[in-house]
Symmetry: C2
Subunit: 331 residues, 2 copies
């Protein structure tokens, strides 16, 4: 089959702010990409049209016609019924309530389409072509506005009985902890997401604590970007050091809990903050986690590492949904 | 093959106080059992001899010769290298330090032997022949002196990369919580095991709180048995109600965490306390857990139930290690 066609696939990452599409070869190589704004406020019909346009543009960039593409894997920013391709909801997109994204894209593109949760596909991307290559049991943890998780077991994405597995960001770390965006208290996300880091920092500034942050924020229109976090840490800002330290402590505790329950080979950390800081973010998590492993035997075998695919993890994971890649220099 | 032999298997449950062995048919029926004291204080050589004696007695009880038995599955009370059959350690047995139990029993019995952790086998027993029949994704939680866990994913025991998965009792529920037997703070086990329940109760008695427990304990030589717990609850003892309530609250929180991470179809609760109290113990756990599910869709599909096999879960799980049972009235 690999001889009859070039085995092109398309991966699409539908995000809250942008849509990324890529044509990907059977070896996992990216052959062409396109990016458009999501315009999520305009409702599902507009967003779906923009997904189709992005897909068409990616095919053009790869100099491939849509007909030559074997299938499309799409990541959506919310819970998905993996079997039917229905997106149950998408908190950052207006009007997404049980939208049959798979069926609608299949009709519009004339191609087989599979839809999954974006964090699952980021995890699958890292597992297939990134930091997790060669693992059998791997966890992906993506630290952004929230904290998302994905689980690979026996070399396959594990989705759970209701396709709801991997909500690791909403494991309770402290029953009386800070309020989380989900309405409960003390979720990991309430300690370790970018939102949580920002909350600690803004509270410190409001208390008048000395910090380089007002200066750094002014240069970024008051947005606490990953770049601001990185610069503040480089300048040893005590407030940012404290906020990041809290995130790392709770992520360490989470990693220990996950190792005790699931004993994976590898935990891959991705997302904007991790990309900006790399091993400097991950190493303290590892140090916090290690004493919490109940089984210390071979504890050194468990790798805790930063993701390597950056923004491309989602589209590569989308392509990986359609089957394993053939061995190549990429692997 | 089922026609050539009767497909007999043997399951052995090596516990801290007793050894249980059973000959089990290819349909999961128990055909004969034997039980002996472990005498763990006498060291591994004595214990292994007693296991062989118990196995021989079980075969005699089933009127089957050892030669007719296809294989033996053994549960050990500690971490096990499932591949080699080496028991790394066994906290309640003297001198068990890297004992090659599988090889030693194989030599003594002249039969193929597989060794696994006892909680894994209890989980596998409930999955194969007990409360979890028909599930694909199931968790077993056994509340005893400690709290042990087992994980079934895609219809198979999941053991993890170091055969160390399932240590759910040592997930941290509260970083500054009470000291656990493992030396860390705030593990689930430190809130919800029989040991934790006893600690709360004894502290209350030491403070002079009113309770029916002194009377009940006197009748049991001061041992806080499952029977004592049950009677105290039936008499609405405020101290025991409080201790059990704490265990149920933290088990509810744990269940919510596990559902958010793993989205299983079923969580089966076993162990002495659960056996004594049944659904009366499990139902409040369910009520505490439910509001903590991030994904509420189809939350009612997740079954939280008591185990059904009691003491036999381990030997049945041992037999299930050797392959699936044939369909029968037992199933």
């Amino acid at each position: 089959m690999a001889k009859k066609t070039a085995g092109y696939r398309m991966g699409i990452d539908l995000g809250g702010t942008k849509i990324l599409a890529a044509v990907i070869g059977s070896d996992g190589a990216i052959l062409g990409t396109a990016k458009k704004k999501t315009k999520g406020e305009a409702g599902p019909d507009t967003v779906i049209k923009r997904i189709v346009d992005t897909a068409t543009a990616a095919a053009a960039a790869a100099k491939v016609s849509l007909k030559e593409i074997g299938g499309v894997g799409v990541g959506a920013p919310g819970p998905v019924d993996f079997e039917t391709g229905v997106v149950y909801s998408a908190p950052n997109l207006a009007g997404w309530d049980e939208i049959p994204l798979g069926a609608r894209l299949q009709a519009a593109l004339g191609l087989p389409v599979q839809v999954d949760n974006d964090v699952n596909l980021g995890t699958l991307g890292e597992f297939s072509l990134g930091a997790g290559r060669g693992c059998q049991h791997m966890l992906g943890l993506f630290v952004g506005t929230g904290v998302g998780g994905g689980i690979v077991i026996d070399g396959k994405l594990y989705r759970g009985a209701r396709y709801a597995a991997g909500e690791i960001g909403h494991m309770t770390m402290q029953p009386d902890g800070p309020l989380c965006g989900c309405g409960r208290r003390g979720c990991l996300e309430a300690f370790a997401s970018r939102t949580a880091i920002e909350r600690v920092v803004r509270a410190g500034l409001a208390e008048g604590r000395a910090s380089v942050l007002p200066e750094l924020l002014a240069a970024e229109k008051d947005r606490l970007t990953s770049g601001v976090i990185k610069q503040a840490l480089e300048r040893e800002d005590p407030l940012m050091t404290e906020a990041i330290g809290q995130a790392q402590r709770y992520l360490g505790l989470l990693v220990a809990n996950l190792v005790n329950a699931l004993d994976p080979e590898m935990i891959v950390f991705g997302g904007g903050v991790v990309e900006a800081l790399g091993m400097a973010f991950v190493q303290p998590i590892q140090s916090h986690a290690l004493p919490g492993f109940l089984q210390q035997r071979h504890a050194d075998r468990i790798k805790i590492v930063p993701a390597t695919l950056g923004d491309q993890a989602g589209v590569l994971g989308g392509a990986a949904l359609l089957g394993p890649f053939v061995a190549s220099k990429v692997q």
